[in-house]
Symmetry: C2
Subunit: 151 residues, 2 copies
């Protein structure tokens, strides 16, 4: 979990605004701020975490707007929804093909890249199940942060 470069945030925001304009989505303060918060982190926040951050800038925003906005953004391919180990949905503005490391201790999710997985040979048995479009890897283990702070 680290900072996202301001340059990358700007680039993501630009694309966001462009896509909204092209597709007829209104660029409201709420949508901008929700997207900005998501684009500024790689921590895969939940809707509630995003809500709490957006609140600082827009105190009148409501949690249901955050949910509605995240759902809309996902529909339009502007963000991704991550299925994590705990029950709540988590969101991600990183749309580059990547995989997840999930800490079984703190439930934190980190991204990593693994291009060779896209050209790996699948077991015959798997191919028989259907047409495979994507291979998603999830590494489970203990993150460095949890290793250093036992308990």
């Amino acid at each position: 979990v680290s900072e996202i470069a301001g340059e990358l945030i700007e680039q993501r925001l630009k694309r966001f605004v462009d896509v909204c304009r092209c597709r007829g989505l209104k660029v409201t303060h709420q949508r901008l701020e929700i997207f900005r918060q998501l684009a500024s982190t790689d921590a895969h926040p939940t809707a509630e975490e995003i809500f709490n951050r957006v609140r600082v800038q827009l105190p009148r925003v409501s949690l249901d707007t955050v949910y509605r906005t995240l759902a809309t953004m996902q529909e339009y391919g502007l963000i991704a929804r991550v299925e994590a180990l705990d029950d709540r949905g988590r969101f991600d503005a990183n749309l580059e093909r990547h995989h997840h490391f999930v800490c079984t201790e703190c439930k934190g999710v980190s991204d990593f890249y693994w291009p060779s997985l896209d050209v790996i040979k699948l077991p015959r048995e798997a191919k028989k199940l259907g047409e495979v479009r994507q291979i998603c890897a999830e590494l489970r283990g203990i993150c460095t942060s949890c290793q250093s702070q036992p308990g």
Copy 2:
């Protein structure tokens, strides 16, 4: 999604009863029937689906008992909980190390085995995130059944 051999079901039930006895879990009708239903399918049913099947044999069973029982069984390593594409939890009596094929159309989950994934070289980047204990692969695509029945 196919039938499970009666022999395998019996084997799973035997282990279930043995583990319950050893660990002091009472072998109730409800627990037996819930486990039997789960051991008899590879369709990764939800709690509600299991409830509906168990109901046929035990009409007085309640949904909360099914939830409680599934949670207990998971704690004792008797079954596994599967995180799927939709929101509800799904359960599995197959405890052999395996991976999942998820159909993005019908949300169905199928098991397959991929032993070579356990000895694969991880990207350096991934190793830096923490101690990897397990690699879980999820293949996403269209299952043969959805391919043949378009719509």
